[in-house]
């Protein structure tokens, strides 16, 4: 049996080049490591370390059989870990591990090339996981590094000095940027996010949910995350009118509110909007919800294509959910009359309460009714009760039992907006007035840097809508009765300072850190708006400003600009390749003459100098004697003799070139 010994590491690459390649690979792979199964991450680290040690110590390479076994086991391992080998996480894990395995056969320049292109591809996969500014910056740095490896690999010998290589690579990346921007702006956008791969990561996002139980919103308040950003075209609504309408809940089970099953005959209720039209643009953070937020109350005109108003006048998506940051435009008016008329069936549905729960609340409402109070009066009476009795607005309400509304209204009296809204709606329903819960956000903070508003999770809010015959749905915010500053000045003002999450603490809301945070938010907002939010809608807006209103013109512009860019690039490269000094240019002209004379049978011998050649030509063809002698003299002057003193003067140089060109043209064999 012939036993083949493993090939020794005869690195055909210089050791420096190999170590640099490994370093760049490490930088490129590192963000993926936490996303890998632990064994795969360990394998990648070990392989990189092993290859570096092998390069340093001249270890032997693994034999072919070991490599095959490793590769197939890694493949099987990925399949075992993910249940598949494609898709976002599994696919990236597979290519990451395979890139690391490629190191076991990395010896020559050819393999470096494969690695370089693998690394470029791996770089792109980072966008599947994050599209933050940091990611983009990191990718630019990585692209420069990989290009550096590519440059090094293209030099025979390799192992060039680091700085010039990085300078060149950086220059190349910089020069690619205009082209990148051009393609980014002009490349036709299809609806949908840029990086819309099937997301199997299932990352939970904080935000409002599709039901409301006591304590859910108050836990949301703890989060400083941005829910969405708003840019108003001109009119900015007053703080107490900034109610951002989200999920509407009409069914109460005694503790929890949810949308319930709306009676089927409901269409979109009629709404008469009045007052100034407020136009605005929302950049919504991904929340995996099936609804969008709108300023109370949105106009039914100019809605995003995939969104519609439902029976509760909530803006919902006709399909899918908000998985990616999205940009949409809306218009709203803050004065409205919503659904002035209502069917008996609907009224019954909207006053329904679980029969046995919250008996004390029901009794209170009935007592008002028994006093002969009308709907309006009952609403006022209820609000008066919140205002005049000692209710506390707090983020840490005591736990409530089964009859949560009873306990809250009569015993604890400490609660957050959801407690107030919920108890108020129950009171109204008990009195026979149709009522429902609206959740969403209230308020928002003006950016200190840019001209936009930030609405955070901490602005989450719940309020009530009651329906009064003839006036339609009225927004009643019982929280405003208890803690009016919450509505007027925001959550940070309404809570006692020891109750506040740290990011809302007024003591921390000034100074450098706060300022930096504001600026960072502004930068992120720009990024979200211009880069991530650059979908078909924004593209249309931008392009129509540039006068490119339809797709055809846009494609023409894209083609023209790209060809122009490539043309300029080509010309620059040609110029570089073409003779740049007068000596080489002289040679080019002389070659032209040689070719012309050769066609006439006068061939310059290899070792024949121009003067000798001219003399020979003059002997054979006396008619050419003068011209060929002059051409030869000018050629020699341009290529060999001392440049004239004014050679620095480009016009003199040009004159000399033209003279040579003319002299050569005069030789007509």
């Amino acid at each position: 049996m012939i036993r083949k010994s493993p090939r020794p590491v005869v690195d055909l690459l210089p050791r420096v080049a190999m170590l640099r390649l490994l370093a760049v690979l490490t930088i490129v792979l590192t963000p993926h490591l936490p996303r890998l199964p632990i064994w795969a991450a360990a394998l990648v680290v070990v392989l990189i370390g092993w290859r570096a040690a092998a390069a340093l110590n001249g270890w032997r390479m693994l034999s072919g059989a070991v490599r095959v076994v490793l590769t197939f086991s890694a493949f099987a391992g990925i399949y075992a870990s993910f249940g598949r080998v494609s898709g976002q996480t599994a696919g990236v894990a597979l290519i990451t591990v395979m890139a690391a395995l490629k190191l076991t056969e990395l010896r020559a320049r050819r393999d470096t090339m494969v690695m370089v292109f693998l690394m470029y591809f791996l770089l792109i996969t980072h966008f599947l996981f994050s599209q933050e500014i940091w990611t983009a910056a990191y990718l630019l740095v990585c692209a420069t590094l990989i290009t550096g490896v590519l440059i090094d690999a293209n030099h025979p010998g390799g192992g060039l000095a680091l700085r010039p290589v990085l300078n060149l690579a950086g220059g190349m990346v910089l020069r690619a940027l205009p082209l990148m921007l051009l393609i980014f702006v002009l490349f036709p956008r299809i609806p949908g996010p840029i990086w819309g791969l099937p997301a199997d990561s299932g990352a939970a996002r904080s935000g409002l949910s599709d039901s409301m139980a006591p304590g859910e919103i108050s836990s949301l308040i703890q989060s400083g995350e941005t829910a969405f950003r708003v840019r108003f075209d001109d009119t900015v609504p007053a703080p107490n009118a900034r109610y951002w309408r989200g999920p509407v809940f009409s069914r109460f089970d005694g503790r929890k509110w949810d949308p319930g099953f709306r009676p089927s005959e409901d269409g979109v209720p009629s709404a008469e909007l009045s007052g100034p039209v407020i136009r605005y643009e929302v950049v919504l953070e991904p929340n995996r919800a099936r609804w969008l937020f709108a300023l109370d109350l949105p106009s039914r005109f100019g809605l995003p294509q995939d969104a519609e108003l439902n029976g509760d006048y909530q803006l919902v998506l006709s399909q899918g959910e908000v998985r990616e940051r999205r940009l949409y435009r809306l218009q709203s008016q803050v004065q409205y009359r919503l659904q002035p008329a209502m069917s008996a069936r609907q009224r019954e549905w909207l006053t329904r309460l679980p029969r046995t729960s919250n008996p004390r609340t029901a009794a209170l409402a009935r007592s008002w009714r028994a006093q002969g109070l009308g709907d309006d009066a009952i609403v006022r009476e209820a609000l008066r009760r919140y205002r005049e009795q000692t209710f506390y607005y707090t983020l840490q309400p005591p736990a409530l039992g089964r009859d949560s509304v009873d306990e809250f209204l009569f015993d604890t009296r400490r609660g957050f907006c959801e407690h107030y809204a919920s108890s108020f709606a129950v009171l109204m329903r008990a009195a026979g007035i149709p009522a429902r819960i609206v959740t969403g956000y209230q308020g928002g903070e003006k950016s200190t840097v840019g001209d936009y508003w930030i609405v955070r999770q901490s602005d989450a809010h719940a309020w009530t809508e009651v329906w009064i015959e003839g006036r339609g749905w009225l927004r009643i915010d019982p929280t405003a009765a208890v803690a009016p500053e919450r509505i007027e000045r925001g959550i940070g003002e309404a809570l006692a300072s020891d109750d506040l999450p740290a990011f809302l603490n007024p003591a921390l809301r000034s100074g450098l850190r706060f300022d930096l945070r504001a600026r960072w938010d502004w930068l992120n907002a720009q990024w979200n708006y211009w880069v991530l939010g650059y979908g078909p809608e924004l593209q249309q807006a931008v392009l129509s400003k540039l006068g490119l209103v339809d797709w055809r013109r846009m494609i023409i512009a894209l083609t023209v600009l790209l060809s122009a860019a490539l043309g300029v690039l080509g010309l620059l490269l040609l110029r570089r390749a073409a003779p740049v000094n007068r000596e080489d240019e002289a040679l080019k002209l002389w070659r032209r003459l040689q070719a012309r004379l050769a066609r006439a049978g006068l061939r310059q011998a290899p070792g024949e100098g121009p003067i000798d050649f001219a003399a020979r030509v003059a002997r054979i063809r006396p008619d050419l004697a003068t011209t060929i002698r002059e051409a030869a003299a000018r050629y020699l002057a341009a290529r060999y003799l001392q440049p004239p003193n004014d050679a620095a003067d480009p016009s003199a140089d040009r004159t000399a070139r033209q003279a040579l060109s003319a002299a050569i043209a005069r030789v007509k064999p």
């Binding site: 000596e583 040679l587 011998a605 290899p606 070792g607 024949e608 100098g609 121009p610 003067i611 000798d612 020699l636 290529r639 060999y640 003799l641 001392q642 440049p643």
Partner: protein, 302 residues
């Protein structure tokens, strides 16, 4: 062509008849601050040429006849005890002149040969611990007789390298022969030859030679020629880097003679055989000059 050098050349061709090419090469050799080796039979005008070169530039001249018993001190000089001052005094030898004719250099012992050749290279003489500079300009014309082999010590290749050029004069042409026979003795004519240009101007020309331009294209050509000598089948050794430099300097001198500000390929070709042939180590029964000519014809001018 430079008018002063034209005048020099004219004066020289009045003495050495019908050998314009050799005269030019010899002149170029002097301008390039190189030394000249003339290989020829006796009586073809070697001494006359050397003397004429010394005369036209107004240089002082010494002739040393090399024999087998010639000692280094006979060339370099000797220290003699001076009784009145009770010190040794150095009496400079014939090498301390601006033009030295070393006649039949291959007759002297290697020791004496190398004494002269070292002085040529260093342009100074060290004797009794004192270093004495040789005059500037300093130009050695050595001759050797190719026919005689008995009792001679042929110069080794390493020593030949010290000579910038090797020329042979050859018999005069028919017209020149007639003129030689009819006209007065060359030596008498020489005595009447006035200096055409002085030492100062000669040094200036020598300085100018170094600043004649060698363009990148020309350097490419030089390199191609040198590479060709190293790769040639019939040659055991090609041109050394020092030979390459010599070729460049000689070509520069030739270009200056031609009145050019830069060296052109023809200038290189003009001096190539004279500069290269004696430095090439040829296989048996090959002619270095023919090979050099072949190389010139074969190497393409880039």
């Amino acid at each position: 062509m430079n008018p002063s050098l034209q005048a020099v050349l004219q004066a020289l061709s009045g003495i050495v008849l019908g050998k314009e090419r050799q005269l030019r090469l010899a002149l170029a050799c002097l301008l390039a601050r190189g030394h000249l080796l003339i290989e020829d039979v006796p009586g073809v005008g070697k001494t006359t040429l050397a003397l004429a070169l010394a005369r036209v530039f107004g240089l002082d001249f010494h002739r040393v006849q090399f024999t087998s018993d010639l000692l280094p001190a006979d060339i370099l000089g000797v220290s003699i005890f001076d009784a009145p001052t009770a010190t040794f005094r150095f009496h400079p030898g014939p090498v301390f002149s601006e033009v030295v004719l070393a006649d039949e250099i291959n007759r002297a012992s290697p020791k004496t040969q190398s004494a002269l050749l070292e002085a040529m290279e260093e342009r100074q003489v060290t004797s009794d611990g004192a270093t004495r500079a040789l005059p500037d300009p300093f130009f050695v014309v050595a001759t050797q007789n190719p026919g005689e082999q008995i009792g001679t010590y042929p110069l080794p290749e390493s020593q030949l390298d010290r000579f910038l050029m090797k020329l042979s004069l050859g018999y005069p042409s028919r017209d020149a022969e007639r003129a030689l026979l009819i006209e007065p003795e060359r030596r008498d004519l020489l005595a009447d030859l006035p200096p055409v240009i002085g030492t100062v101007q000669l040094r200036e020309f020598q300085r100018q030679v170094r600043s004649v331009r060698t363009s990148p294209a020309l350097v490419e050509y030089l390199m191609a020629l040198i590479r060709a000598t190293r790769e040639h089948r019939a040659l055991r050794h090609g041109l050394s880097p020092r030979a390459g430099l010599a070729l460049k300097h000689a070509a520069q001198a030739w270009a200056l003679l031609e009145g050019r500000t830069g060296v052109i390929p023809e200038d290189v070709q003009a001096v190539f055989v004279a500069v290269a042939a004696h430095r090439l180590t040829v296989a048996e029964r090959s002619d270095a000059r023919a090979i050099a000519d072949d190389i010139l014809a074969a190497v393409a001018i880039p």
